[in-house]
Amino acid sequence: MSGATPPPTGPPAVEVADVAVHYGDVTALDGVTLEVAQGRVTGLIGMNGSGKSTLLKTIMGMVRPDRGTVRIEGTEPGAARSAGALGYVPQSEDVDWAFPVSVRDVVMMGRYGHQGRTRRARPADHAAVAEALERVELSDVAERQIGRLSGGQRKRAFVARGIAQDARVLLLDEPFAGVDKRSEATITGLLRELADDGRTVLVSTHDLHALPRLADEAVVLLRRILFHGGVAEALQPEHLARAFGLDGADLLDQEGTT
């Protein structure tokens, strides 16, 4: 599966050029240049505080870089957002799980960009939502309040929102945190399918052992790009040692794979 997709032609799905982001005195990103290829799953790895979330939010345009530019599929990020090209699966702690919305409501929010100003749902929207729910296998819990799902189901609900949105570039921030191994495998399979459809998937994770099955390529981040290339090579101890500041081989051993 991994690496089977031929390198695509056309503009890169995401193009980050010399981006720097500072929060006060803290440097979150320093001169990041990155091209994410279309139709592939790219894993973004690095330790907590390495700038993974900041990079995703910069690509989304939520964080304004102090320097550098971002382009989505060759266009301005604002135009790409208005065109519904960007889908986002937030980190668990960024979501209010007690919010009174059902799973179906959340997935329907993916359709808002396709609807009129009052976001009244049309038959096509209901159909797209039903299809997305079917695809992530949440149809039978669609009416449940979003917090009454397991960790893995919650993630799938947000992936379904991206599918209903018909986003061509899907950004996921730590989708495997607090998710059991079986759900992780389901989500991995789902993301692979989306990439096979020609969508671009950029996943931040610190779960290294999931990476070979998930990603076509890997980006190692520590405020700047330490490595960008094949997954196997990214997991070499010398890269991990620099990214995580410890012996990378130990890190993989802890995850149960050698």
Partner: protein, 298 residues
């Protein structure tokens, strides 16, 4: 005296009828807005804006300008000042809110004390629901109608903003603009409500109904029906009580709403304190997931 007489007797007074209509109108639009305020976590902001409008209302009174204009200017000024203090100093948001709204409120009190014809303006602080004129009623109804219409038309965008502003941004909406819309509506609604219960108690009408409805349902759409309905019923009850007991009407409206919240807090089927432990109540925790989640060992 029969029960029907008890209900009908107050209605022979025109001022009571006007009070009832005004209160219900204000209660409905406040309750609608409160659904978003409690979910965004803006209860304190509601408190701040509703107090901060006081100097605006007094100045508008002095200058002969519409109350709404003055209130909007000072409501937005309060929000801007709070944002500025939070963003440019180490003072945290709750402290910034406390500083700004008390200072503006105090400015309003000072302006009242130096303005002739103090009686009218004291009504702004404590409300004067029984003294509402037909002209007031018309003005309140128009403002409430505008706020109501915007809230209903924009309800899905506002809910998205409350739930996931990042997604709103990702699909090309402006979370900043939606937040500003909500704040503008907050200032507008504060003007509507302050004529009913007064500046001090406005915040109750802007928080209690939404919080009460939140304990009763897991559907936002239903919250938007339950909160205004409950608030309207509480308001009517409050006005009647004030007639029968000959006590402060605005305060009684709030007292009834607070009592309703207490009952719901205790007895709500799923989210109430006792409801959770009664056999009929269903647990609030996530239902036993079929693919039981074990945190992966990192």
């Amino acid at each position: 005296m029969t029960a029907l007489d008890l209900l009908l007797e107050p209605l022979q007074y025109e001022f009571i009828v006007r009070a009832l209509v005004t209160t219900v109108v204000a209660a409905i639009v406040c309750a609608l807005l409160s659904c978003w305020l409690v979910l965004v976590g803006w209860s304190l902001m509601g408190d701040a804006v509703s107090h901060a409008v006081l100097p605006g209302v007094v100045l508008a009174y002095v200058l002969g300008a519409p109350f709404t204009l003055g209130a909007l200017v000072f409501g937005l000024l309060a929000v801007a000042l709070i944002g500025a203090i939070r963003g440019t100093s180490r003072v945290k948001e709750d402290a910034a809110i406390g500083i700004v709204f008390t200072t503006l409120f105090a400015l309003g009190l000072v302006l009242i004390s130096v303005t002739p014809s103090q009686t009218d303006l004291n009504h702004i602080i404590f409300g004067n629901i029984l003294g509402v004129s037909t002209a007031d009623l018309v003005q309140i109804s128009i403002l409430a109608g505008v706020a109501f219409a915007i809230l209903v038309l924009k309800r899905r965008d506002l809910t998205l903003y409350a739930f996931d502003p990042l997604h709103a941004h990702a699909i090309g909406l402006s979370p900043r603009r939606l937040g500003a819309l909500l704040l503008g509506l907050l200032a507008l609604t504060s003007v509507v409500a302050l004529q009913v219960v007064g500046v001090i108690l406005v915040v109750a009408m802007l928080i209690i109904p939404g919080a009460t409805a939140y304990l009763l349902t897991d559907r936002f759409g239903r919250m938007l029906v339950i909160a205004p309905a409950l608030s309207a019923v509480c308001s009517v009850l409050g006005i009647y009580l004030s007639y029968w007991l000959d006590a402060a009407s605005g305060a009684l409206v709030v007292l009834v709403q607070g009592t309703a919240f207490a009952l719901v807090y205790l007895f709500a089927p799923r989210h109430g304190l006792l409801g959770r432990y009664l056999p009929a109540g269903r647990p609030v925790r996530a239902e036993q997931p079929r693919d039981a989640d074990v945190p992966s060992p990192h």
